[in-house]
Amino acid sequence: MIIEHIDAQLPGTVTDRHAFRGDQTIVIAGEHLLAVVDLLHREGFQLLVDITAVDWPEREQRFDVVYHWLNLASQERLRVKVPVADGGSVPSLTGSFKTANWFEREVFDMFGIGFDGHPDLRRLLTWPDFPGHALRKDFPLDGGDVFCMEGCTAPYNNGERGGR
């Protein structure tokens, strides 16, 4: 229902849509995000449940920023995906949704996607000079941590100092 509404009020913004197992998803471009969000807010989708992102490294616009909304009155849920390229950015939603503040900081920390208009865009989960963006597919699981690798020994071995 809401997708038809978006099509009626903002024609041409929805570039792709799919429904899977009862979930409805639309894909829109970054420049239309604020208009769509405004419409959603007016239509009752006032609980922003989550903002996250997915990295598709083979694609040109490698990230998909994913937003989830819940309409408390009609219990309808909507997922909105916004493709963005490496080094790109999307408009921030902190104006209309205060909860977007930390969600966007988390996405910035984990993926390196910028958010225009965010009041304080800095890392949330890792420390300020953490090297890299953790959830990108080309970031290794151990992050270069020496002791995560197999074959490394514990520092103490039955009371004697161990080593490599």
């Binding site: 989960l125 890792t126 420390w127 300020p128 000079d129 953490f130 953790a134 970031f139 290794p140 699981l141 151990d142 992050g143 270069g144 941590d145 020496v146 002791f147 995560c148 490394c152 020994t153 514990a154 520092p155 103490y156 100092r161 161990g162 080593g163 490599r164």
Partner: protein, 202 residues
């Protein structure tokens, strides 16, 4: 009388025994409660398992007022400098029990974010494995620490603590000279220790 002679070995041993007996039976825990093991710690302090039988009822969340630090939960790389600061703030004599596999070795989290064992950054006396360890296991760990304290000499065990304070000074100078955050400084010290083939930074 010969017992009054201070150089008499028997006198020193008895002093050690008395002091260690007092210390081991009044360990005031400082629960560095971070994650799930803290919930099992709460169970341990509650009425069924009751750590206060061992003299450890006085849970002090301040490092200044406690002598046994229980590290309860996963220590991440972001938390590592905090842990070192808290350990540095404890007055000696002090002991550390690393509770659970996350604190002992990084647990199931072999990732960029988790410190692979707390003994890489602070000295640990007893490791209690388990995910989370049952309260009985944790009590067994405390009892093992008591056995360890019994055998301590009043002067011998300060070596690893002295090395810890040296490493803290090195960390601070590294931060000052390169302008790093404490987390990144510890990260660099860990990498350096790894390259040298040593498991800890102190």
């Amino acid at each position: 009388m010969s017992e009054l002679d201070i150089n008499d070995a028997v006198m020193t041993t008895r002093l050690d025994a008395v002091v260690n007996w007092g210390r081991k039976n009044s360990l005031w825990p400082m629960p560095f409660g971070v994650a799930c093991c803290a919930i099992e710690f709460m169970s341990m302090m509650a009425s069924r398992f009751d750590l206060s039988r061992f003299g450890a009822e006085a849970m002090r969340f301040s490092p200044r007022q406690s002598d046994m630090m229980l590290i309860l939960g996963t220590i991440t790389n972001k938390m590592a400098p905090v842990l070192r600061t808290i350990y540095a703030q404890m007055a000696e004599p002090k002991w550390v029990i690393s509770v659970g596999v996350c604190a002992s070795s990084g647990g199931m989290y072999r990732t960029y974010a988790t410190l692979q064992g707390v003994d890489r950054v602070i000295p640990v006396d007893v490791y209690v494995p388990g995910c989370p360890p049952r309260p009985e296991s944790m009590i067994y760990g405390v009892m093992k620490l008591q056995e360890k304290i019994e055998k301590e000499s009043l002067s011998m065990r300060k070596d690893h603590i002295a090395r810890f304070y040296e490493s803290l000074a090195r960390q601070e100078s590294l931060q000052a000279e390169k302008g790093l955050t404490s987390q990144q400084a510890i990260r660099e010290m860990l990498m350096d220790a790894g390259e040298r083939g040593v498991g800890t930074i102190f």
